[in-house]
Symmetry: C4
Subunit: 232 residues, 4 copies
């Protein structure tokens, strides 16, 4: 973060101006994508509308990205290097829901609530990210699989079940993708699963270390001075 | 914890007065639930008794919850926000055994034993939680699965075996739930498995860090002052 | 460790006197057990010899345990509480190889080698424990499974393959135990797998924390005093 | 590292002189190995060329190893003990790509870029190692499996899919190796998977601990002196 070049005022204005539209567009994109994939029995016109909405949202993302590249005053290449995640999200807009996670954080802050502890925040992030990416991944895998010959993922329920087993790194293997694109999506989800596991384990571990340190200090405080330490 | 509003004396009296009945009721609930599900060959009257006991225990939990909402002086909504786990446990009383874990902790303290170290306590908690929730989960999944067409979980033994493989995030997939409700329960158990893994890994990690620090200090202590540190 | 009552001189003498015989007996036990299980085509007399050796080793373990209970001056119950692992190992002598791990540690120390770092030692321990328990577990599961109807673990190779997949918490499920006793052993191995994962992750985590701290300090040291810290 | 005997000047010269050839040779080895295994429909002469290249690269590795043993002034045995990884890599040149990881690190340093943080570096290492070893492992397993009777890994795509599921410790088990050599390779990859998981979890954990500490300090700084700390 600290390595990034200073943010221009125009850039900041743009960011705050676009925040709500981008969040709405991310939700519209996800919803339209979901309806188009799950509603394969819907009328063609409705599905076309969804497709149009998907492309419209994508166009908004690309315009926003272009404006931000421009405002940053960096070239495209340097911008890509400094905003790697933003670039990924423009190319694969299905990962866009990740944006909602950071918005959720800002909303939390604004409401002036007693800030959640870091651990609770990491857990909330990990849970929200896993849910959103799990849903998007289950949709994509379902899209590629349900018509494939020899597929075991035949309903969206199967796909969600498979996604949960993958994200938890349990991996039963009773239903698994068989198409190349489904498997590619799956590999991405395994990565998310590893990160999720890392986040859960990591926050637990650091919480424990902190709890232990505090415990030690409390005990030291309680003990009257001059008292010889007994069996602790 | 520290964010919670101060506890009223009446509330404290109620909590200490209800502790034993609630623990007993939690065990009764779990036992009656287990008998009703596993004993599908028992006489109908016995199974009805179990059902009645289950509902009776649940009623006790709800009354206790209502009284505590009342005594807290907070509205229902604020109470829910401050006692999220309690609320979950009232709605899904099968998670109630978690209460036993905290009682076990209090009993340990009362017996004035040399307190277990934090690591041993985390391990004991994680083990107890995993066992209780694993048992409750295996029961629920067995209940939904054993009559389902195409089910692979046909006996309670299968269900326990599946539960262990899930909690350890091994996930062989030789037996897996096929019904929507069974899979929903399974997803909850995967979450428990992830947390269990996090607890084990986290305590190991923090134990190591502590051991290492102590090791370093011991070595520093042994070394005569003024001695130049060699290859450590 | 610190909670244990002081060790008597007689007890210490006994421990050092029995160290070599107990290690030899543990190896004899494991070897005899392995030969008896894997060599089901051997002559009956050889297999009987192995059985006799197994029982003889077990007898030595029990006698050693009894002597140590006596010498400790504690009652049986208090001894069990303070030496929980020793007690488990007397009842399930197949876990006895764990003893070799601690002997290996002592041998390392005696040879006056530059002591391995804590991380390397944890890794070596985890690896040795996983190998020994994995081998013992694969033997036991093979013993229960290879004659079971509908078994997928038919050769010792299958059993070892299954044990590796279990210890790494990968769990393919292409071969899995089907007998109750095989599955019980498997659950124990999953626990070992979880602990192994915790050890690997934990040492990596604490190594990183330490490396980072050292890195920071080195950088602080290199920087000339009064120099304003730039982008790090 | 610190335990190693001091590096001779001649040794250092040799190391810097051989760096580029060895990296090129490692890539040649991997490429020739991949072409030979994947191109089983290629003309025999091309495959023979690949085989020759493979052996040539291996010969270079062995010569380099011999020279370094000589220059170190240690005997072979002591050299093996101090350079264990180098020895493994000479015997199993398919692990050689690991060398690329350390070269990548040196290149990064030379370009005088603002150094990546430790966490980013660990992640980059873990990712690069997992990719290279995953690719090499998928090749080897494919080589042993695709002609085996009853194999489920029939195409290289299957093998890559299996490798990803193994490295993430998900382990679906829809495709698994069935030959002894394939399974042996698989066990090695499980170990890599465990280490990868440990690296991800460990860096997350230590990052969190650091972030938390910094967070705390920032808050302490903001608070005016003499202010009594309220609910944090």
């Amino acid at each position: 973060m600290r390595d990034r070049p200073p943010v221009q005022p125009a850039q900041e204005r743009w960011d705050s101006w676009m925040e709500t539209p981008l969040t709405v567009m991310a939700l519209v994109y996800l919803a339209a994508y979901a309806v188009r994939i799950l509603g394969h029995d819907l009328a063609g016109s409705l599905r076309d509308l969804c497709l149009a909405l998907t492309y419209a949202a994508w166009a908004v993302f690309i315009v926003d990205y272009a404006v931000r590249v421009r405002l940053s005053g960096l070239g495209l290449l340097r911008f890509v290097r400094h905003h790697f995640l933003d670039t990924v999200v423009v190319i694969l807009p299905l990962l866009r829901p990740l944006r909602i996670v950071s918005v959720y954080d800002r909303v939390q802050r604004r409401r002036d609530q007693p800030r959640l502890t870091l651990y609770a925040r990491v857990m909330a992030y990990a849970g929200l990210t896993a849910s959103l990416l799990g849903f998007a991944g289950a949709l994509t895998v379902y899209h590629f699989e349900y018509t494939a010959p020899g597929a075991t993922i035949r309903t969206f329920g199967d796909s969600v079940w498979w996604a949960c087993a993958t994200l938890a790194t349990v991996g039963y293997g009773d239903v698994t993708p068989v198409t190349p694109m489904g498997r590619l999506t799956a590999v991405g989800m395994m990565g998310v699963g590893l990160a999720l596991l890392g986040a859960v384990t990591g926050s637990f571990s650091s919480w424990l270390i902190q709890a232990f340190t505090r415990d030690d200090e409390k005990e030291d405080g309680k003990r009257p001075p001059g008292d010889s330490p007994g069996a602790s």
